[in-house]
């Protein structure tokens, strides 16, 4: 890629500038007030303070909810690297979640089961070793899966990842080593001095652990986005051929997206196992892959604040609001009695029909607001088929897509791609 300019060497400054300037941009982006409120580094600090206050203001059950929200924020941010940054659809993201979770559980449980049913004691490792181990292992499998498949076209890749997401839980289900369908228990993180992470009545330490990791991952993915690797991802997302001719190594760039996304998924898995302390292969279904995808699409594909909000909204709805709604409806006098007018609703468990709603959200978003609730500016323009103006992309060699020709019976003329030569890449090669 390009030689970094001074501006690019300081991703933080770049981020603040773009975020703040976009927040002050009064003309272009629909939903601007919401965006201003939810993004930008100042707001990030306010959010952090709010998040840090959670254990002081909310009761234990809501703190538990907040922890699972945090885990899903990690997962959504990880998937966003693959789907949002690099534009590769991964439908089997749960595979990396499950690999992280089993690393944690099997690594800390201390016993494995042989094929004949005997359990054998093995060394157990502390959480603090298993966390990086799970991350690395998941990243390794991400690369392992990606290496042969990433040269496939996008939709084939989606199916292969889906297959991988299905196979991994099947493997854990059928291998006696990890107790098959029974699953395996995990240990909570070991105490640091007087701080205990495994006390269900006092989840605050675990919450702060989760929050710390979430913040680190947020900082990581923002830095990645502004790095040369991040710009290479954008380039292949927008036009693979053009990116490749500009000197982007497609295979290694995609592999890094896949591997890094998987690594974050592995961290989420380790945290999940450490928190729930009991996992079975059934916990890791295709539904989870899709739920995480919906979080990304809902919030805004490629948009870090968007994805965080998407994950928070959906997960809060899932673990907290939905149960409340269910209880409220089932407990309401209009429904509860057998003669009540809405008694038919009593037979419906809203907890199990939530995926119907998720599907509706996914389709509605992709049809009506594909850029998500808090859009990534660049992505918005891609989705609306507009050219990306050279001023916003002064540092990126980019390809401008122009619609040329007339519509013929509903099928648009093929996009004609032309180099704008806006960036240092194209110019550097010409010179």
């Amino acid at each position: 890629m390009s030689l970094p300019t001074t501006k690019q060497r300081q991703p933080w400054r770049k981020f603040m500038q773009t975020q703040v300037s976009s927040a002050l941009d009064t003309t272009k982006i629909a939903g601007r007030p919401l965006r201003w409120f939810l993004s930008g580094w100042r707001v990030g600090i306010i959010w952090l303070i709010v998040a840090a206050a959670v254990p002081w203001v909310l009761d234990t059950s809501l703190q538990v909810t907040a922890i699972t929200i945090g885990i899903y924020v990690m997962l959504a941010l990880g998937l966003n690297i693959v789907v949002g940054y690099a534009g590769l659809l991964d439908l089997g993201y749960v595979a990396f979640f499950v690999i992280g979770a089993y690393t944690m559980a099997a690594g800390s449980f201390g016993f494995i089961q042989m094929a004949n049913g005997d359990t054998v004691a093995v060394p157990d490792f502390p959480f603090w070793i298993l966390l990086p181990a799970g991350a690395i292992l998941a990243g390794f499998f991400g690369v392992l899966l990606g290496a042969p498949t990433l040269r496939l076209r996008g939709d084939y890749l989606a199916i292969v990842t889906l297959g991988f997401g299905e196979i991994v839980p099947i493997v854990f289900n059928n291998v006696p080593f990890f107790y098959g369908p029974v699953g395996i228990s995990s240990q909570p993180p070991s105490n640091i001095g007087p701080i205990s992470f495994g006390d269900p009545s006092f989840p605050a330490p675990f919450y702060y652990l989760t929050l710390t990791l979430v913040v680190l991952i947020i900082l990581g993915v923002i830095s990645l986005r502004e790095s040369s690797l991040g710009r290479a991802w954008v380039a292949i997302r927008e036009d693979e051929t053009a990116a490749s001719t500009s000197g982007v190594n497609l295979v290694s760039t995609k592999l890094l997206a896949f591997g890094l996304g998987a690594t974050v998924g592995g961290i989420g898995g380790v945290m999940n196992a450490a928190f729930t302390t009991s996992i079975t292969p059934k916990d890791f279904s295709f539904n989870i892959s899709i739920t995480i995808l919906i979080m990304v699409v809902l919030g805004g594909i490629g948009s870090v604040p968007g994805v965080i909000v998407g994950a928070i909204l959906l997960r809060f709805f899932d673990v907290y609001l939905l149960g409340q709604v269910n209880d409220f409806i089932h407990g309401s006098p209009l429904v509860a009695d057998s003669g009540a007018p809405l008694h038919v609703l009593a037979g419906i468990d809203f907890n199990t029909s939530k995926y119907l709603l998720y599907g509706l959200i996914l389709v509605a978003m992709i049809l009506l607001r594909p850029q998500g609730l808090i859009p990534d500016r660049r992505r918005t323009r891609e989705l609306h088929g507009q050219g990306v103006s050279s001023e916003t992309l002064s540092s990126v060699g980019t390809v401008e897509r122009e619609e040329v020709g007339e519509e013929v019976e509903g099928i648009g003329a093929e996009d004609v791609t032309t180099y704008t030569g806006a960036g240092s890449d194209a110019q550097g090669r010409e010179g």
Binding site: V83, G87, L89, L91, P148, T149, L152, R153, G154, D155, Y156, A158, I159, V160, L162, G163, F164, E166, I167, I170, V171, N173, N174, D239, E240, T241, F286, I290, L293, V297, I348, T352, S353, Y355, L356, Y358, G359, L360, I361, L362, V363, I366, L367, P370, E382, L383, G385, V408, E409, G410, I411, G412, A413, E414
Partner: protein, 316 residues
Amino acid sequence: MHVLTLADTSGIGLFFQQIENGITLGAMYALVALGYTLVYGIIELINFAHGDVFMWSTVVTLAVVQAMGITGTLTGPALVGMLLLLLLIGIVVSSGLNVAIERIAYRPLRRAPRLAPLIAAIGVSFILENAAQLWRGSSFVAFPAIFPGGGLQIGSVRINYLDIFIVVLAVILMIGLDRIIRLTRLGKAMRATAQDPEAAALMGVNIDRTIVFTFFIGGALAGATAVFYNLYIGQVWFLTGFQLGLIAFTAAVLGGIGNVNGAVLGGFLIGVIKSIAIQYIPSGFQWSDAIVFAILVLILVFRPSGLLGQRVAEKA
């Protein structure tokens, strides 16, 4: 899931019995695979919801049978009438759903980035599955065995009449599809659109109508398969479409996606491979889905154009 009809539990007889089972299963996979391959051939979209469209026909035909109070085997005119009715309902439900999905979810996204319609398709699949779960619950529901048992015994291989019915009808449908694609004006329009939508449009082909017709045909094949499947497997479940859809998609890819003959070949091959794998691999049933996925990954990695496909290069 399906009950193996074992006459001989050892040796070569068992092997041929598994081939027979595989061919029957494969006929159904092939019909569903055709739906994937036709749509992919025309608009290069993996119609992720196709398997769930199939599932909805299994669910609705079950509801019809239950509503009519039929619980046992039928014979004579009653059987023929019932089969025709179920096939009609299955076809109407699936083709109607498929056309509606195209209109609502895919057509507005035809000019969007490639991944958008695929994500929409996944969302539709999710909606269909969970709507079915809401209606019928999440457990298996038995479909009454309305088709009479009995069959032919050739050596140690038993061929049920039902298997013959399914394979013969499936082959008739495949030949019919082949005739439609080769000989009718709409078939010609489909081939033209698959080759080059723009040029086809310039030659006066109504692209929208051709695409709708393609979804209709794919849905109709899936609807007929749903009836066969209900008779053969006898279990209705809201995730059937997801499982069978992935197997059929694998079959379409194995044959070369976009290639009609390839989908048929792939369907039969996957059917046979799956039944043999279930028999001969230890605890093969638990692994059978993983085996199918492994086949899919291997084909995509080593021969993405499939057995009969030609188009290898990526269309940008």
